[in-house]
Structures are given as C-alpha cells and as structure tokens.
C-alpha cells in the first residue's frame, strides 16, 4: 500500500478563457465568477451536487488578484461550501499539483472522502502596475537593477542552457509552434492561429534571449478537479476516474552547489525519479507529457530532467520527434499555457485537467491515440540565483472500472 494508485480524479472543469478585451467582445469576469463557474463544471462532470461537498474537503489555489493573505476563507464563503478540511496552496505554478497531492493525502488518510480543488485567476483585470506584491528578494535585490519578473529570470536560464548545450532559437521555436498546432484543435485555447518559424524568430525580444513567443500568454480563467479514493472512484465514476499512479514533490532543489547551482537542472529531476518509482513505470511507458510551460525552455529542460533524453539533448529531442498531439511524443496536447493561456496562479491546473481529459479519451481532434499513461508537472516560484523553487511530477493512469 502507498499513496500511488490510492486516489483518483473523478471530475474536472475548465472555463473558457479571456483576455478581458471587451472591445473585441471578450468577457471581463471577476475572479469570484470564475471560481463559481469552474466549481460548477467540475461538480457536474463528477455527478456530484454542491451540498455533497459539505463536510468534505475543499482546496483553493492562491490568487494574484485580489491578493489577500486570507483567501481560501473568502472563496468558501463566496461559494457557500461548508468543508471540514480547507486546503490552500500558494505555490504559484505548482498550485494545482500541490492541491492534488494535498487532496490525495487527505482522502488516503480518510479525513475526508472528497476534495474539490479549484483555481481561478484574473491577471487581465489588474490595471495598476505594482498592484501585485512580489516576494521580498525580488523587490530588494532584483527590481532595483531592472529585472522584469519571470521574463528576465527565464532569460538567464535559457541563455545558460544555450551556452552549455548549444540549444538554438529554432529548437525553442519548435516547442512554440508544435504547441500552437495543438491549440488549433482545442476550442478552449486563446491562441488558435498556427505559428510559423519565421513569425517565431521575428517576434520581439523582451528579455533577450526570451522572445514574445517563448512566453505563455496570461488569461483570465478557472479550473477545478475533484479527488476521491480509488475505491470510491470505481463505485461512483466507473470508466472515467483517472488514477494517480505516482506523485512526488521536490522543493528548493539545487544541482551541484547551493550557492553555485547549475541553473539548467530543475527539481523535476528529483520529483520525476520519485514519481516514476512510485508508479513503477519507465519513460518508455509514457503516452504523453504535459510539462508546466511558462516558457519554451522550461519544456526542453523538463524533457531532459524527467529522463526522456540525456541532459542537454532536449533541443535535439524536439527536432527528432513530433511533439504534437498526433506525434510520436505528444507534449502539452491542448496547447499548454504557451497557447491556451495561463490563468496566473491557476495555470498549473491546465496540465492536470488536460491529462485527465486525454486519458478519458475526451481529447477530440487532439486525442492522443491509445493513451495509457500520462505525465504532468507543476513548477512554482522563481528563486533567486536558481530556477524554480517548487516542482512536482504526477503520473496518471487509464480510467478504472
């Protein structure tokens, strides 16, 4: 017995996303509305009534806006849930993955039977620069020198990866273009127009070498999923409950030296090894990969760090493999955050929800053929002098009867 194969996702919800461009006819909804909408979709999908969450667990992702320390309490008041376990994640891009692990532990331990995990965010509604307070080390030791948040942070990582391993802009472009092609088959994606290599290479440099199309696109949106034990899942959602075969977290990972880490290695190196061990799978068993994709270089690094190729060969890997949903190694089959959009702190839910959808065979035009095992990751919080502080790897299996 162990956490692996002990719990499952029995329902998910994903709202349409928006850039809140009212002039283009796009919706400008509040974060409260997205929380309610995503919850409604997930409950409906799981076949549960709202009142069935009373006395159960609720997990709430942190939110860029409003940026309140007491947030999960506000959300459950808004939604009228009366849980007996209230989980909260403030792990940025790892919020979804962290809530999945927390929820899994909660149902495995028997404290509750169900946990509804919800993330929603509205970065496009924030009009005042500096309205979102960032971490102190960014304020004190990065912004005074002109650091521009994640774009500049990832520029250091990408530059170093290019320097050490010869990774090229064209290889990074392959990630952006392939994921965009996946997005063209995702009705919920924000960017659905195919991208050419010329367009990618001529997109403006923001924090050189990071280009516009290396970065994910912020959107407003909400996502949710519901977790229960595998045993209960088989009873209430036969044929559509997606089991978590392995899940593992690695925080504050550094490669080689804590003051001089090799910033081209993510904690995914460690979390993937542990999650694959828990799931008793090998890399060749994996049907698709949904790595957290705030930047194209993050995808390439994770192909390496999860062991799908040798370190440094991620660039060559995306040239030698077709990484579209129809390809031999499907990556971010719905377009990922690069093309479907990143609802800020809820962005990490995208990879979980898309994994569940694919394993249930609900991928529509972008369905991966014969999907048996899927792997997703979550990455959160860009650290000072390294890369990501929070990393998680999740291995999903086929629905159980």
């Amino acid at each position: 017995m162990g956490l692996g194969k002990s719990f499952a996702i029995i329902g998910y919800g994903e709202t349409p996303v928006s850039r809140a461009r009212v002039d283009k006819g796009e919706a400008r909804l509040s974060v409260e509305e997205y929380f309610a909408w995503a919850s409604e979709l997930a409950l409906k999908d799981a076949g549960l009534e709202k009142r069935e969450i009373d006395g159960q667990g609720v997990g709430i992702a942190g939110c860029a806006f409003p940026h309140a320390e007491i947030w999960s309490a506000e959300v459950i008041q808004n939604l009228g849930f009366r849980p007996k376990l209230l989980l909260r994640s403030d792990h940025g891009g790892m919020c979804g993955a962290s809530l999945l692990l927390q929820a899994g532990i909660a149902v495995y331990s028997g404290v509750v039977d169900y946990v509804l995990c919800v993330g929603a965010d509205t970065p496009m509604n924030i009009s005042t620069p500096g309205a979102v307070r960032t971490w102190r080390y960014e304020n004190d030791f990065q912004k005074p020198f002109g650091m521009m948040g994640p774009n500049s942070q990832f520029a250091f990582i990408q530059r170093r990866h290019m320097h050490q391993f010869g990774t090229t802009p064209e290889q990074l472009g392959r990630v952006a273009i392939s994921q965009r092609n996946n997005a063209t088959k995702n009705p919920n994606a924000y960017l659905k127009t195919p991208l050419t290599m010329e367009q990618y290479l001529s997109s403006r440099l923001i924090a050189d070498p990071i280009r516009l199309y290396d970065a994910c696109i912020p959107v407003n949106g909400g996502l949710a999923f519901i977790v229960t034990t595998l045993e209960k899942a088989k009873r209430i959602a036969p044929g559509k409950a997606v089991p978590i075969l392995g899940i593992a977290e690695s925080d504050n990972y550094f490669h080689d030296s804590n003051i001089r880490p090799d910033i081209t290695y993510l904690g995914v190196t460690e979390s993937s090894r542990m999650a694959f061990e828990m799931a008793r799978i090998k890399q060749e068993d994996v049907s698709f990969f949904q790595p957290y994709d705030d930047y194209t270089i993050a995808v390439i690094m994770q192909i390496e760090d999860a062991g799908f190729c040798e370190k440094g060969k991620g660039g060559r890997f995306v040239e030698e493999h077709n990484i579209e949903a129809s390809g031999d190694f499907p990556i971010n089959t719905g377009g990922g955050q690069l093309s479907s959009g990143q609802p800020a702190m809820a962005g990490g839910f995208v990879h979980i929800v898309e994994s569940v959808r694919q394993l249930r065979g609900e991928g529509g035009e972008r369905q991966v053929k014969d999907a048996r095992i899927g792997v997703a990751t979550g990455l959160g919080a860009i650290s000072y002098g390294n890369n990501l502080t929070n990393t998680m790897t999740i291995v999903f299996g086929r629905p159980v009867d």
């Binding site: 620069p129 004190d140 030791f141 002109g146 650091m147 530059r159 050189d208 000072y384 002098g385």
Partner: protein
C-alpha cells in the same frame, strides 16, 4: 545606451524614480556597506559558506550565531545574462536605459548576484567575461553595486 556616465548623471538627480530596496534589520548592513562602497555578504563561519541574499540563519547548517559580514574582492565573471529590451512590471524609468544588461555575476569567492553590467556595448558581453564591482550612489542612502568589464 546606458554607460557609466549616464549612471552617474542619474545618481545626481534629486528624484530617483526606479525601484529602491526596502531596508530591514536583516538587509540594512548590506546597504550600509554599499554606501561605504564596500561589497560585503554574509558568511557562516561555522560551515564556511557564503550566504546571499541576506538570510536570518545559515541556510546550509541552520546556525544563527556564526554569521558575519565578510568583504569580497568585487571581482567575478558573468555566469549568465539578459539584455532587457522591454519594460514589464517594473519602473517606467528604466525605459530610458533600454537596451541594458543584467548579469548573474559569479563572484570569485563563490556567491552569485544579479546586477547591471554597464559601460560596454550591448553586443560585446559574453558568458565568462570578467567584471569588477563599482557603486552607483543613486540616493543619499542607497548605493547600488553594479559591474563593469575589466
């Protein structure tokens, strides 16, 4: 192009518009040494480790008592860098400096610090370049440690 002359000029202006650090009891010594144009960082004498940015205990061994502020030579190499070409989520005052370089500088004693590399053409910077610290007195209290090739 931001060069040292421009930095000096900006330092003399009375209203400095860019982000400034907030001083706490933990970070104040660093900035006070910078004001004296000395680059010092915390060092754990117990486990012989440099600590950067300032921490409330040694993140390696957990000791709180053996941390001292040690002087560094100010010499280092560029471990990685970016050229900022667009201002996003920072002071619009940086717009005037674009394009400018931020390096992740590996000091010869070991720790790495983010800072500007100035006084050199944008396209002449590479990983591995040797740099030396200088101090830009941007306000009465704050001198930012910046670097130039040497």
């Amino acid at each position: 192009m931001p060069d040292q002359e421009e930095s000096v000029a900006s330092s003399q202006s009375t209203s400095y518009a860019k982000f400034l650090p907030e001083l706490s009891s933990l970070t104040k010594p660093f900035w006070e040494y910078c004001e004296k144009h000395e680059l010092r960082m915390q060092y754990c004498a117990k486990c012989s480790q440099w600590i950067w940015y300032p921490k409330a205990w040694c993140p390696s061994c957990g000791d709180r008592k053996s941390i001292e502020w040690r002087k560094l030579s100010g010499v280092g190499t560029i471990y990685s860098f970016t050229i900022i070409r667009q201002v996003i989520d920072n002071s619009p005052a940086f717009q005037a400096d674009i394009p400018f370089i931020i390096g992740l500088i590996e000091l010869e004693e070991g720790p790495r610090i983010y800072s500007n590399v100035t006084g050199t053409p944008i396209d002449s910077v590479s990983i591995g370049d040797r740099v030396m610290v200088y101090f830009d007195d941007v306000t009465q209290e704050i001198s930012l440690p910046k670097f130039r090739k040497y």
